[in-house]
Chain length 298, copies 2
Amino acid sequence: MVLLDGKKLAEKILGGLKDEIASARSELRLAAVVVGEDSVTKKFVAQKRKTAASVGIDVREYNFDAVISTNELRKRIAEIVHEKKNTGVIVQLPLPGHINTQYILNAVPPEKDADVLSARAVGNFAVGKSEIMPPVAGAIKAFFEEYQVDYRNKYAVIVGAGNLVGKPVALWLLNEKATFSIVRSSTESPVEFTRTADILISGTGKPNFITGDMVKSGVIMIDAGTSVDRQPTTHNPQPTTNNQQQSVIAGDVDFDSVAPKASYITPVPGGVGPVAVAVLLKNLVVLNKALSKFPPRH
Amino acid sequence: MVLLDGKKLAEKILGGLKDEIASARSELRLAAVVVGEDSVTKKFVAQKRKTAASVGIDVREYNFDAVISTNELRKRIAEIVHEKKNTGVIVQLPLPGHINTQYILNAVPPEKDADVLSARAVGNFAVGKSEIMPPVAGAIKAFFEEYQVDYRNKYAVIVGAGNLVGKPVALWLLNEKATFSIVRSSTESPVEFTRTADILISGTGKPNFITGDMVKSGVIMIDAGTSVDRQPTTHNPQPTTNNQQQSVIAGDVDFDSVAPKASYITPVPGGVGPVAVAVLLKNLVVLNKALSKFPPRH
């Protein structure tokens, strides 16, 4: 079993970026739109900020109250997007349930959409005319290239069809010469698919959803799930003295039972996550190059 | 076995359109861009023109020489698109090999893109924000609704990942709660997928590619393949007196061996084809309504 080392791969990608950014004429700034006060969301943004800083990219956070309306948020994002210094704009997901998420994402023009989530950026990507990839799909591709996984000639199964993992990965594989299946919460017997997969990519957000009995021997296991376990761990069932719950970022995979059967596996943390952040920052660099070549028409 | 009657379903869709168009204030005109002199392409356009005429939609054909350059064609399409009377614009595919097809398709703005092939229209569709569906996907959905096929709870296998069938159908099923697989020419053993499919959707353009031994008993067989058999038929191997070859539009399915095993099956001709044309015209009506509600900004 080979552990797919996301920290190391991220370092490699970031190392290349650092030089490129240092020699660039213009400054890069990523605007991060954050709605609400969720501590995990804040943690993710802090992580992006730290990584960005390490390569010379500034992250500017724009915070909004959780009760903001869709229309007000869209208006504010239009201003953020308009600000020239913001060379890229991301919206930290998920947004509160009352907000029309796709309408908000569509306010980011493709030339600043480093997350590839607006309809226009998704369209460019879907027809094979995008210079950048959605970060998680880009991260998985980077792993396959780094570890020489011939993914085009293997059977991939994608578990979950969400906006951040399943959907962009499906769009990517659709444009490659890959054979793949999509299974989701409505699928009657997911195990019939997962057990035959050469490559299993999971993005359900259900901790320990993928167990050893669901995979075949030799599987290439990509854990792109993100969920937050706010419960005290079973190892430490006593409430902590300051009454704070521990929040642990978990993947989809029951590592202990899957790893012994896998040929390759990404850990959580230290797998897809840091590479996706590196790809996001790389996207910002690529978009900025494209921007200086083809200034947007006004 | 139930034959999915495309002519009848198309009539039903067109019947609804006819009344709507008659009572509308503005006239609808579909501009059809045709490059080259292929007789089959001409036949398809003639079919669209005839069907459109039956509901009161005018089709204007714009013909270009097969040697036209990508840049020149793009410029000409920009003019066609700009013409107010053209309330919808389609580009008859395939284009000659030297032309950058997606660049040409992207010249059609989403509000006139009745075929849903430009990057922007595909993007709107992919994120679930399109009022219209790509014609073939829309046709398949119409069949499922008409014959009450509960496709969301069945396993679909899509054979082929082309721009007109496999890709749009995959995008559609991705946004529904459906479980599906994509197999393509690079897939090592397509039969392992096709034999387990509850719903089999084929769009490879290879006549008789799907044979009875490749499907399971009770399959719902959707033949969305289009190919042209220009050979004299085996039943009539003698050259005809006027030395013309017969050109027959063929699907992907070996009907004689698949039909006895199928619970539902679309014939070719008279299956997906006429319904896709009806959906295309319906799209034109829907887009025109959207257009009059939200005039595009200039």
